[in-house]
């Protein structure tokens, strides 16, 4: 075959291009530390890598979710622990006062006041916030789960002007869930009637203008416009003891893996009111009734409430255990996800990442080949017949 200078140079050019191309590819692999730099480098492996990356990313998010759920569950654990302790202290108090022989009106009153403080503490526990959210309110995370004690008073004026009634809670545990009416029988005398029972709490009390009226743990101050109260004027008072649930008892869920959901919250109605538990106990009502029994010296009731306190402790412990099971499950899931993620990473790395030693060898090889081509080229280009013709 005739070999012309043109074909020689063309071939040389092609070889130089081909070798510099493989050199630049080897360099790219070395620089990015990846053997697949674009899908077309190896579509089959790249498709697997895309799938793996997708799974790895999902797994990471699942671990995020699990960690979030775990930190929430930890909060519930702490809080239910505090609640158990609180019920324990309440029981100690009640046990002491259940013994008619050693209990006196004075010790009962001291116990009642301490119990009253415990109830306030219980409200605080029930309204615990995690990251600014009330954790026992179900979906209503922007509302405190339980009301503290409240009182509201109001009524229609009899004479000109406006009837104003200011009210405040004096002793939350002395309150019941009843409505009252302050009925003025004269400008300087009034009765207080319990609307629910229809019984008079106080009768024919004397009244001086601006005087605070106290009953059932609350205090009401009445101002009747410009004049003084007159006979027939009625002030309605609504009292709510602590313990009314504001939440909705809904269970919050979060995804832990595709389509798998786990509940993250405990609801206040279940933990504090025993809703949905057979024989469940309303802790606030229990505290209130013990309180009443203590103030009335009703030892039968006090003793009966001891059993209920035990049941209540059990109820709280059960809820705490339920939460604990969740923590265990989350830990297991996290371990599993982590190991899944690790193995996925290994698979991905096998497909996508370079073996440094191999890549280095490839690079050196490509460099050598390139240099050899250039050396050979300079040798081939040299001679021509014209060199030998003188």
């Amino acid at each position: 075959m005739r070999v012309t200078e043109n074909s020689m140079f063309n071939q040389l050019r092609r070889q130089v291009f081909r070798n510099s191309d493989s050199l630049i590819n080897a360099q790219e692999r070395m620089a990015t530390q990846k053997r697949i730099n674009r899908i077309s480098d190896n579509p089959v492996s790249a498709a697997r890598v895309l799938d793996l990356k997708s799974s790895i990313s999902r797994s990471k998010q699942t671990i995020n979710n699990i960690e979030h759920a775990t930190s929430v569950a930890d909060t519930y654990d702490t809080v239910t622990g505090q609640l158990s302790d609180l019920l324990g202290r309440a029981k100690e108090l009640v046990v002491k006062e259940s013994n008619e022989a050693t209990s006196t009106a004075a010790t009962r009153e001291a116990a009642r006041i301490e119990l009253s403080n415990l109830t306030s503490e219980m409200v605080q526990i029930a309204n615990t916030q995690f990251e600014g959210k009330y954790i026992f309110s179900g979906y209503q995370t922007d509302k405190p789960a339980f009301n503290d004690a409240t009182v509201a008073a109001g009524g229609a004026p009899v004479t000109a002007g406006t009837l104003t009634a200011a009210s405040k809670v004096l002793d939350a545990t002395a309150m019941n869930d009843h409505d009252y009416e302050i009925r003025f029988t004269a400008a300087n005398a009034f009765d207080v009637v319990d609307v629910q029972t229809g019984l008079a709490v106080a009768s024919n009390q004397s009244y001086t203008s601006g005087q605070a009226i106290r009953f059932g743990g609350v205090e009401v101050t009445v101002a009747n416009g410009t004049g003084s109260p007159s006979a027939g004027m009625v002030v309605s008072v609504t009292t709510t003891p602590p313990g009314a649930y504001n939440g909705d008892g809904q269970t919050q869920e979060i995804e832990i893996g595709q389509g798998n959901r786990i509940a993250t919250n405990l609801t206040g109605d279940r933990v504090f009111q025993g809703v949905g538990i057979s024989g469940g106990i309303d802790l606030f009502a229990l505290m209130n009734s013990i309180n009443t029994a203590l103030s009335e010296g009703d030892y039968d009731t006090i003793q009966a409430k001891l059993d209920e306190l035990d049941t209540a402790s059990e109820q709280v412990s059960n809820e705490r255990a339920r939460n604990g099971t969740r923590v265990n499950l989350l830990e297991q899931l996290k371990d599993r996800q982590s190991s899944i993620q690790d193995s996925l990473e290994i698979l991905r790395s096998d497909l996508e990442d370079i073996d440094v030693a191999e890549a280095m060898t490839d690079l050196t090889k490509a460099q050598n080949v390139y240099e050899a081509t250039l050396t050979a080229a300079s040798q081939i280009i040299q001679p021509s017949l014209l060199d030998f013709l003188q």
Partner: protein, 549 residues
Amino acid sequence: MSSIFGILNTGRQALNVQQNGLQTIGNNISNANTTGYSRQRTVLETLSYGGVRLAGIERMRDEFVSARLLTSNSKLGSSSAQSTALQQLETAVGETDDSGVTVSLRNFFDSLQDLSASPDGTSERESFLARATQLLASFSGVSDQVTQLRTQLDEQVKQQVEQVNTITAQIAELNQRIGPQSQALENQQNTGINQLLDQRDNLINQLSSIIPVRVIPTGSGVMTLFCGSVPIVEGASAVTLQLSPDATNSGLSNVVIDDLGGTRSLAGDLGEGSLGALIRARDDQARDVLDQTDRLAATLARDINSVHRAGYGLDGVTGRDLFTGLSASATFSSTNQGTVSAVSGQVIDESALTFDDYEVRFTSSTSYDVIDKTLGTTVSTGNAWAAGQNIEFGGMRLTLTGGAPAVGDSFDINSYGGMSARMDLNSAVVNDPRAVAAGTTSASGDNRNALAMIALGTQMTMGNPPAQTYEVYYNNMRVRLGTQVNIATSLQQQEETAQQQLQGLAESVSGVSLDEEATNLIQFQRAYEAASKVIGVTDEMLQTIIGLI
């Protein structure tokens, strides 16, 4: 019986002929690097009465290899144009670890997960909206790049059409010039015709890398060129390729030729060659990527919206969309015969949208069929139409204005085209992150709607029938494209090798070897010297004879 003057004459002829040979060698050496130059060789002939004469100057060329080279050029032209275009396309949908549609989709759904963990968190809501914005940017990024690539390809199509027209005009002109001299060609007379033939072969070579060319000699040295079934050069006349903007294809140009008073598309005749490859890359591969990205964006918007509308924001408002931009676009072909001057599309029921391509075809001026072109099914037939009446199906409304359609007129409508560029976030939600409907009630801790949106991320909603998640659909498209790039690149290398081999073969016949020419140079020089010697000796002989007198 020879005379002394006969010898002198023979010597003179020999001098002439060897000089001519030297000139041919000089010409070969000068053109050693000229593209398309075929090596020439002097053909010598003995005269019957003694002596030598120049029979002709032969153009060394293997016609068989040349013909194969044309096909190979076309194949290389299309494979290299295709692999370049596809590589650019792959870059457009390429991703890094923190940008691109795949990653943005993932981030979008991950941020929904975070939102479901803290549905009342302002930062979670803000971050969800930021991820949604990132997703929109990724969609429009792909759309921008692919649209830009299509425009570039269209520019290249225009340039190549111009090139083809220039080349075919030149070939036609050469045909005209070569024709009358063809007799000289047969007689192997050196009349500069070799140069014209080289020029024409070179032009045909160039042309063959742009369009497929079949060369048919039609006598008298004239070549007729066929591109597919179209004779683009016939004798001294060339067919001019024209560009016609296509309204149903974003106004990009179709290549057409005049035909019987009208025009006909050349698309079917452009098999191999870079022009056909550019058109296919523009209208098939690049458009597919764009259409699929649009479909993904549209489906995501439809699905997320339908869940989002059902939920409540923290502000207690329900029924709000998260994404905007779903709309129907209608086009019609310029080949329609009726008097309809404009069409418009509209979405009337978002949840009924299917994102298929539909065609409304009129079977009479008052009756139409609806065809789902994506599935290849007929949606409905024989629907009555009257002027001013809207055509409604699949959640869309098509309005024809300006007149009545004629039999056979068709109108295209779809509700996904351009979605990845058009898609946006509902401003009511952007302005107030509280409007993100994470719950099925307005309760601050209600995350049920967020969970429902998360579920969409792993649902099989894409494809016909639906069998892929959003991410898998998009990744599949990328892998498919990657495979195409991979195949196109190796095909290109293959064609390159094949073409180089053929070129080597052609070169071995037609190429100039300097070593060979140097040898020939010496050979002819020696013959020239010897012929001079003959004249010298004859001269001496003559002087001897003259001395006798």
